[in-house]
C-alpha cells in the first residue's frame, strides 16, 4: 500500500505560486511578460455587456411584428438616450399618436420582425482584473489574461467566504487556542488582515464589520454563526462572491478548533507585512481552497520552482491533522502505517495509520480521516 494519497493543505514559509488572472470574456491584456505587478494593479480589462431590456413594440403600438420597422425612429445599432423616442405611429389625428420612449440610455441592439420586440442594451461595464499577488507576469494569453508568479509564504485554509483582498497582517490573538473576542479588534485594524486563534464568535463578526477589517483568519467558527452572517444555509462549498464586509478564512474547520501551531507561527512571523487573501472555496472538480499569500521580494528564489510539490504518499514522521471526530482538530505525526485492514468501532474494515501526539499518546485513525500539513 505504498501509494496512499491523502489530500493536504499547504502551510509553507517559501514556495512559488502561479495564479491565472483570467477575464470572463475576451478583452485587453494590459501588461507583458516580465512585468512586475502589484496586488491592486489592473492586468487585464474587458467590457462586460450591459443589461438587456426587451420592449415589445408591436404590442405597444398595436401593429403586426413585421410592420415594426416602419414605426422605428431609432434603428438597430443606434445609440439611444433615456426617454428618447424609440418608435412612434403617425395617426391622422395627432391626439392618437403613440410614442414609445426608451427606458434606458444605451443602444438598440436588435429588432425582431417575428416577435415584434426590440432589445435595448445598457452601456458596457468595464471590468478590471487585478494582479491579486505581488509578482511577475510569466505568461500572457492574448485577450484572455495573464499568469502571475510570486515567490511567497503560502498558507491554505480549509474554507472561506468573500473575495480577494489585501492588507497588513495583524495578530490579534496571542496563542493558537485563544478565542477571538470583540475586545481583540481595535480601530487601528481597519483595512488589515486580522489573525485570531481557535474560534470566532458572532459578536466578533459584528465588531469586525464595524471596524472595517479587510480579512479575518481563524481556526473555527460555528455553522449557525456563518448562517446568520450569510443570511442563508450554505448547501455546497462553492464560495468567493459573498459580500459580508470582509473576507473570512477558516484554517481548521467548524467548531472551536485551535489553529495549527505551524500556521499560527508562520502568520506571526509575518505580522506587519502585506498579505493577499482570497476566501474563494470550491470543493468539487478542480478544487480551490482559500489562501493567504505573503509575497517576497524579487530574486528570493530561483526560477523554475513553480511546480506543485509532488508527494509520493504519506510517510512516517509526516505532520498530520485529524479531520474527523472523535479526535477532530488534533495534530500529531504519523508513527506507523500498518498495511492490513483494521476493524474500527463502526465495524468497517479500513486502512488505518497511527498518530503520535505531542504528549506521547498514540491513536489509530482511518487513513482517510487525516490531512497532511504540507510545506
Amino acid at each position: 500500500m505504498a501509494h496512499s494519497y491523502t489530500p493536504g493543505l499547504t502551510v509553507t514559509e517559501q514556495t512559488v505560486i502561479r495564479r491565472r488572472r483570467q477575464l470572463p470574456l475576451p478583452g485587453t491584456v494590459l501588461v507583458k511578460v516580465g512585468d512586475r505587478v502589484q496586488s491592486n494593479q489592473p492586468v487585464a480589462k474587458a467590457e462586460l455587456p450591459g443589461k438587456v431590456y426587451p420592449l415589445n413594440l408591436a404590442n405597444q403600438l398595436g401593429v403586426a411584428p413585421d410592420e415594426i420597422p416602419d414605426y422605428l425612429v431609432k434603428k438597430a445599432g443606434e445609440p439611444v438616450q433615456k426617454d428618447e423616442i424609440l418608435a412612434e405611429n403617425k395617426p391622422l389625428i395627432k391626439w392618437f399618436k403613440t410614442e414609445i420612449r426608451s427606458p434606458i440610455t444605451g443602444v438598440v441592439e436588435s429588432l425582431s420582425t417575428v416577435t415584434g420586440q426590440v432589445l435595448l442594451r445598457e452601456p458596457p461595464r468595464v471590468l478590471d482584473v487585478l494582479g491579486y499577488v505581488d509578482g511577475t507576469v510569466v505568461d500572457v494569453q492574448p485577450q484572455q489574461g495573464v499568469t502571475v508568479e510570486a515567490v511567497c509564504t503560502l498558507i491554505q485554509g480549509i474554507f472561506g467566504i468573500g473575495g480577494e483582498t489585501w492588507g497588513t497582517l495583524a495578530m490579534a490573538a496571542q496563542s493558537p487556542d485563544e478565542v477571538l473576542t470583540p475586545a481583540h479588534l481595535t480601530a487601528d485594524m481597519k483595512g488589515k488582515i486580522v489573525v485570531g486563534g481557535s474560534f470566532l464568535p458572532a459578536e466578533t463578526l459584528a465588531k469586525a464589520k464595524e471596524v472595517g477589517i479587510a480579512g479575518l483568519v481563524v481556526g473555527g467558527i460555528h455553522d449557525k454563526d456563518l448562517r446568520a452572517l450569510l443570511g442563508y444555509d450554505l448547501g455546497v462549498a462553492i464560495t468567493g462572491t459573498e459580500q459580508v464586509g470582509f473576507t473570512l478564512i477558516l484554517t481548521e474547520g467548524f467548531g472551536t478548533i485551535p489553529m495549527a501551531q505551524k500556521t499560527f507561527k508562520l502568520l506571526s512571523a509575518h505580522a506587519g507585512q502585506k498579505a493577499a487573501i482570497s476566501g474563494a472555496t470550491q470543493i468539487r472538480a478542480g478544487v480551490i481552497r482559500p489562501e493567504i499569500v505573503i509575497a517576497k521580494p524579487v530574486g528570493t528564489l530561483s526560477a523554475g520552482q513553480a511546480a506543485a510539490p509532488q508527494r509520493e504518499g504519506i510517510q512516517i514522521g509526516d505532520p498530520v491533522r485529524i479531520i474527523r471526530d472523535p479526535l477532530f482538530g488534533k495534530i500529531g505525526e504519523v508513527s506507523a502505517l500498518p498495511s492490513d485492514l483494521q476493524k474500527i468501532p463502526t465495524e468497517s474494515n479500513v486502512r488505518v495509520l497511527e498518530v503520535r501526539f505531542p504528549d506521547g499518546q498514540v491513536a489509530v485513525v482511518p487513513r482517510t480521516n487525516i490531512e497532511v500539513i504540507e510545506g
Partner: protein, 611 residues
C-alpha cells in the same frame, strides 16, 4: 426511453477479453475492480480505491485511477502498471490486462438550463430529455414561467450552465414564442462555466419551422446544434435525438473539463461513460430481464441518481447537490435539521450536529470512525434518499418516452404535471448503490436506510450493490455482455430480502395483522404483528418462505383493507422484515419517545453492534 449507450461507441477488439480492469471516477473516490475469467465464467476478483485526484496538488483524475489500480496490483500480485501506463493486452498470466474501461462523474456533473414555451409542456419535456441524459437541470425557462423578460436574461447570464437545451412549439405551429426565447438567450450572451475559449454548446430541439430563425439569432453566439423537435406534436414526445446530442456534447465538451480527463480518455479502451448513464444501463437491464417494476438509487458524494422502470418505462433523475460528501450540507439545508434529527437514536445538540455536517462538507473524503458518527451519516442518507425520490416522482410522470400518446383532453388536465408513474404498491424491487449503501458495515443497515426513506408498501424485495460496482458493469455491458452479466449475478447484486409493510395506522400496540410464516424446512412461525413493531426473520439467499397475513379491518396489504394475503417471500443477506410501523411512517414528535422508538426498532433488527 432507453439508458443504453450508443451502439457506435462499441470498440472493436479482436482478442479475447479475459482480464478487465475498470474504474469509476466518482466525485470523492475512484473505485477500481479487476475482473478475471475463471473457467467459463467471469468473476470480480480484487478491488481497490483511492481519493479522486481532481483536487490540488495533482489536479489530474488519472492519478487517482493509477492509485486505485496500484492497490489492485498489490492485492492481486498481477503487474498492471508500467509507470503511468496500463499494460494492455495481457502479456502473460501475471502481467497486464486485456482492456481498461472507466466511468466518470468527477467533472462535477453536467449542469444544464432548458427552455420551452409552456412550462408544463415543452419545458417539462426538455427537462426530461436533459435528466435522462444524466444532466443536472439548474433552471427551466419558459415563456409562461412568470418571470419578466429581463429576469430570464439575467438568470441565463448568472447561472453559467455547461449547456442549454432549447425546445418549444410543435412542428408547423407558431414560431413567435420560440424565437422570442432565442432572442433572450442571445441577448444574455451565455458563457460556459469552464474555459473562456470555447463557445457554449446549445441544442435546439423545438419547432422545426423556427430552425432558420434560431440559427440566425444564435448561430454566431453559441456552438449551436439543431436536432429533431422533442415535442413534434402535442401528444407525443421524441426525446431520444436531443438526449443523444446532449450525451455527445457532454463527452466532447464538458467531461473533458475535469482535470486530466483527456489523459483518461487516452488510457481507456472504450469511450468513458458518465456514471449515471452506466448505472442506468444496469438498472434497465435488471428490470427488463426479470420483468420487474424497479426503483434504483445511486447515492454518491455530490448527487443522488434515481432510476425507475415501471411497466417497462425507464426514467432517470439526477438530484444535484443531494449527496453524502460534497453535498451533505445541502441535504441539511433542504431536509431541515428536524427531519435529519428524527433518525438519530440519541440526543445531540443542534450546534454540534451542524458543525459536524459542515466539517464533512469541507473534508468530504472522511469516513465515520465512531458508531454515533455512523448513525448520523445514515440518518442524513435517509433524508437524501427520501428527497431524491420525491424529486424523481415529480418528474417520472405520464407522457414518457417516444410514441406514448395522450389525448387533447388529458392535456387540459395537466395542471402542473402528469400523474407520477411511481406506484409503490406495484413496486417489486428496490436496488441500492453508492458508498453509504454498498459499504454499510451491516447489510441490514442498507436495508433499513432504504425502507425508512422509501416507505415501501405491501411486499417489496430489496437488494444492494455489494461493493459499489454497478457503474463499472454498466460500461462493461456495452463491450462484453457476458462478462458484465456473470459478475453482476455472482458478485455484484446482493439480495437483502423482503420488506412486508401493512398500509394504515393503528394505536401503538394494537394488532395490525396475524401472520403465519412457513420456512423452507417446514418450520412455522405464527404470531401477531402490532403497531410500532419491527420484526426480522433470517431467510437465506435463494430461499423462499410462505407468508400468510390476515390484516386488521382498516389495514391493507395491497389487496384491500382487511383482505388476507398469502405470498411467497424471498430471502437474502438480511431476511424477511415485517414492518409494523404503519404507513405512512410516523415517528414520535417528542424527542425522548422518538429516541426510545428508534432504539427499540434498531435493537429488534440488530442494526448496530450495541444499543
Amino acid at each position: 426511453m432507453s439508458a443504453s449507450a450508443h451502439a457506435s461507441d462499441k470498440p472493436k477488439i479482436d482478442y479475447p477479453l479475459n482480464v478487465i480492469v475498470a474504474t469509476d471516477c466518482g466525485s470523492t473516490t475512484t473505485k477500481a475492480i479487476l475482473i478475471e475469467k475463471v473457467g467459463d465464467e467471469y468473476r470480480q476478483t480484487y478491488r481497490g480505491e483511492a481519493p479522486t485526484t481532481v483536487e490540488a496538488p495533482f489536479e489530474d483524475v488519472t492519478r487517482g485511477v493509477l492509485n486505485a489500480i496500484a492497490e489492485i496490483e498489490e492485492l492481486s500480485g498481477r503487474k498492471i502498471l508500467d509507470g503511468d501506463k496500463i499494460i494492455t493486452p495481457c502479456r502473460d498470466q501475471k502481467t497486464g490486462v486485456d482492456i481498461y474501461i472507466s466511468t466518470s462523474s468527477a467533472g462535477g456533473g453536467l449542469q444544464m438550463m432548458v427552455t420551452g414555451v409552456v412550462q408544463n409542456m415543452t419545458g417539462e419535456s426538455a427537462q426530461r430529455a436533459a435528466l435522462g441524459a444524466g444532466a443536472i437541470v439548474i433552471d427551466v425557462l419558459a415563456s409562461n414561467d412568470g418571470r419578466l423578460p429581463h429576469e430570464k436574461i439575467e438568470r441565463i447570464r448568472s447561472m453559467r450552465p455547461d449547456m442549454i437545451l432549447m425546445s418549444g412549439g410543435t412542428d408547423g405551429g407558431a414560431v413567435t414564442h420560440v424565437v422570442e426565447m432565442a432572442e433572450y438567450v442571445a441577448a444574455a450572451e451565455p458563457r460556459p462555466r469552464f474555459g473562456a475559449t470555447y463557445r457554449l454548446p446549445l441544442i435546439y430541439a423545438g419547432n422545426k419551422d423556427a430552425q432558420g430563425q434560431v440559427k440566425k439569432i444564435l448561430g454566431e453566439k453559441a456552438a449551436l446544434e439543431i436536432t429533431e423537435n422533442i415535442r413534434p406534436v402535442l401528444e407525443r414526445e421524441n426525446l431520444a435525438p436531443a438526449r443523444n446530442k446532449i450525451h455527445d456534447l457532454f463527452l466532447e465538451h464538458v467531461m473533458q473539463q475535469a482535470p486530466g480527463y483527456k489523459k483518461l480518455m487516452e488510457m481507456a479502451g472504450a469511450p468513458i461513460m458518465p456514471t449515471p448513464a452506466a448505472v442506468g444501463v444496469i438498472m434497465e437491464t435488471i428490470a427488463k430481464r426479470e420483468h420487474l417494476n424497479l426503483i434504483g438509487v445511486d447515492i454518491g458524494g455530490a448527487t443522488t441518481d434515481v432510476f425507475s422502470v415501471f411497466e417497462g418505462v425507464f426514467n432517470r433523475t439526477v438530484s444535484a447537490n443531494l449527496g453524502m460528501s460534497y453535498s451533505i450540507s445541502n441535504v441539511l439545508a433542504e431536509a431541515g435539521l428536524a427531519n435529519i434529527m428524527r433518525w438519530v437514536p440519541f440526543e445531540i445538540d443542534e450546534q454540534t450536529l451542524r458543525n459536524r455536517i459542515k466539517n464533512k462538507m469541507v473534508r468530504p473524503t472522511t469516513i465515520p470512525q465512531t458508531l454515533d458518527e455512523l448513525q448520523i451519516e445514515q440518518a442524513i442518507s435517509r433524508e437524501a434518499l427520501r428527497l431524491a425520490l420525491i424529486h424523481h416522482k415529480s418528474l417520472a410522470t405520464g407522457l414518457k418516452g417516444v410514441q406514448q400518446e395522450r389525448t387533447i383532453s388529458d392535456v387540459f388536465e395537466q395542471g402542473a404535471s402528469g400523474k407520477t408513474l411511481i406506484d409503490m404498491l406495484k413496486l417489486d424491487l428496490i436496488v441500492g448503490s453508492g458508498g453509504i449503501l454498498s459499504h454499510a458495515p451491516r447489510r441490514i443497515q442498507s436495508m433499513l436506510m432504504m425502507v425508512d426513506a422509501y416507505e415501501p408498501l405491501g411486499f417489496t424485495r430489496l437488494s444492494v450493490d455489494s461493493i459499489f460496482m454497478m457503474p463499472h458493469l454498466g460500461v462493461l455491458s456495452t463491450i462484453n455482455e457476458k462478462a458484465a452479466t456473470d459478475v453482476f449475478v455472482r458478485d455484484c447484486m446482493v439480495y437483502l430480502g423482503t420488506c412486508v409493510a401493512p398500509i394504515g395506522q393503528a394505536k401503538a400496540g394494537d394488532r395490525l395483522a396475524d401472520y403465519e410464516l412457513t420456512f423452507p424446512d417446514g418450520r412455522v412461525v405464527k404470531d401477531q404483528l402490532n403497531m410500532g413493531e419491527l420484526r426480522l426473520f433470517p431467510l437465506g439467499v435463494n430461499e423462499q418462505a410462505t407468508l400468510t397475513m390476515q390484516p386488521a379491518k382498516a389495514i391493507n396489504l395491497g389487496q384491500g383493507a382487511g383482505v388476507p394475503v398469502t405470498r411467497e417471500v424471498q430471502g437474502g443477506a438480511v431476511g424477511v422484515m415485517l414492518d409494523g410501523r404503519g404507513r405512512p411512517l410516523q415517528l414520535p414528535a417528542d424527542s425522548p419517545a422518538r429516541v426510545a422508538a428508534l432504539t427499540k426498532w434498531f435493537k429488534a433488527v440488530e442494526l448496530y453492534p450495541r444499543l
